[in-house]
């Protein structure tokens, strides 16, 4: 199908975009890479009367190494992240996950900010934001504020970003040297949205585990951290028994979706299997 008519604005600064957002209110939608919004418009699942296109704002595309964190502009293409030396060096888990986001031709357009703000429960980038305990910077009429990953995702396609705010930057703490990580995803085909995915980032301490982060995609209505499973590893280390118990804890705490792709019980089983695999792989690294 074809999209419904809309008025099109392509501002060249964020301030201009915010003014347009304020002037048009709930009629308007902000367009980033368009790899989710335009398909929805083509199917007329979305028919926003006003489109505010961020693609002409060059200031929103950058990858900066700030020492303890890497700051990525909201309009940075997923493809730029895939081939970034800074990301490969400082955020290898993001590099591993980005290859699972659609395909190279969709990553040419798709952006990190768009994917996170869209908050599809099955998308990989919200999961990475959770696993790295990152934050996003949003700008609105009252200025900028930072929202931690743990406070951002409220429900499927729902974030705590206010309607008059625009996501401008993603901040990801640099992974400590020696951190182990793994992204395990189960999908019908490469490039499809995850039926279930688990990302693990761990910091070893001899036989023990100094810190563990386990985050999901595709399993429940939003990407979430599985703190109970993380705690099993932090308390009991990275032996086979502890890994199995952590995976059981992960499966026990999720509230899985049930849809035509997979039942809730199946997703719960996948949570256990993928968590076990991901932790084992992260621990071996």
């Amino acid at each position: 199908m074809k999209p419904a008519s809309f008025a099109y604005h392509a501002p060249s600064t964020v301030d201009e975009a915010l003014a347009l957002l304020l002037a048009n209110g709930p009629d308007s939608r902000v367009l980033a890479g368009g790899q989710s919004l335009i398909p929805m418009m083509n199917f007329r699942l979305a028919a926003p009367p006003v489109i505010i296109d961020l693609n002409r704002i060059p200031d929103l595309a950058y990858i900066r190494d700030q020492g303890d964190a890497v700051c990525i502009g909201a309009m940075t293409r997923q493809r730029a992240i895939e081939f970034s030396a800074i990301v490969a060096d400082k955020l290898p888990v993001l590099r591993a996950a980005i290859k699972l986001v659609g395909h190279l031709p969709t990553r040419s357009r798709g952006t990190i900010g768009g994917s996170i703000a869209h908050a599809d429960p099955a998308a990989e980038l919200p999961m990475v934001l959770q696993a790295l305990d990152g934050a996003v910077v949003v700008r609105g009429p009252k200025g900028e504020r930072s929202i931690a990953a743990s406070e951002l995702f409220k429900d499927a396609m729902t974030t705590s970003i206010a309607p008059d705010e625009i996501l401008v930057e993603v901040r990801l703490p640099v992974m400590p040297a020696g951190a182990g990580f793994a992204v395990e995803e189960f999908a019908r085909r490469h490039g499809d949205f995850a039926i279930a995915a688990v990302t693990v980032v761990i910091l070893r301490d001899g036989e023990g585990c100094a810190s563990a982060r386990i985050a999901t995609a595709g399993i429940s209505s939003r990407s979430e951290r599985l703190r109970a499973a993380e705690q099993v590893l932090e308390r009991h280390g990275l032996g086979e028994g502890a890994i199995a118990r952590a995976a059981e804890a992960a499966a026990a705490m999720v509230e899985p979706l049930s849809d035509r792709q997979a039942s809730a019980a199946y997703r719960r089983q996948l949570t256990q299997v993928l968590t076990e695999r991901a932790v084992r792989r992260a621990a071996a690294a």
Partner: protein
């Protein structure tokens, strides 16, 4: 609702300056086909899943069915019509011909452009990397075997050309 106005779009397609007038909602794929009569770019699913509409957008493969033509104002685009050099087929096209890498041909423009971009990024791919790259485009005829063979053969031919 009032009619939305049309706007001028000026862009470079296959090395040639082009322009057309369209509504903001006009998809780039439809603009290429209907305004510029470049019907080599195919429109399949219209939601970015099938890949038949893939073009090079400022040098990178992208789906033209999930972009608006107005967004492409000023852009440099290559469609399947632009990859041969005159009457000499591009090595990818020659390899698809040689290895019977197409049946109905509907997905072929997307396959060619996707493979072209992929081989620039990865000139010496393994078979499994080719399969992963081609998972961006759906083919319902061939079972992919000959497409994979064609891309592997083209990669080799293109490496020889570079050498």
């Amino acid at each position: 609702m009032s009619m939305t106005r049309t706007t001028d779009v000026r862009l470079t397609v296959n090395g040639k300056a082009c322009e057309g007038r369209c509504e903001p909602r006009t998809l780039l794929a439809d603009f290429l086909r209907d305004n510029l009569s470049l019907t080599g770019t195919h429109v399949g699913c219209e939601h970015g899943a099938c890949g038949a509409c893939t073009i090079l957008y400022n040098g990178e493969a992208a789906r033209s069915c999930i972009m608006f033509a107005v967004q492409a104002d000023g852009a440099d685009i290559v469609t399947v019509e632009g990859i041969a050099e005159g009457s000499a087929l591009h090595p990818l096209q020659a390899a698809f011909h040689e290895h019977h890498g197409l049946q109905c041909g509907f997905c072929t423009p997307g396959m060619l452009i996707t493979a072209l971009d992929f081989l620039r990024v990865n000139p010496s791919p393994t078979v499994s990397e080719v399969r992963e790259a081609l998972s961006a485009v759906l083919c319902r005829c061939t079972g992919y075997q000959n497409i994979v063979k064609a891309v592997m053969a083209a990669a080799e031919a293109m490496r020889r050309e570079q050498a």
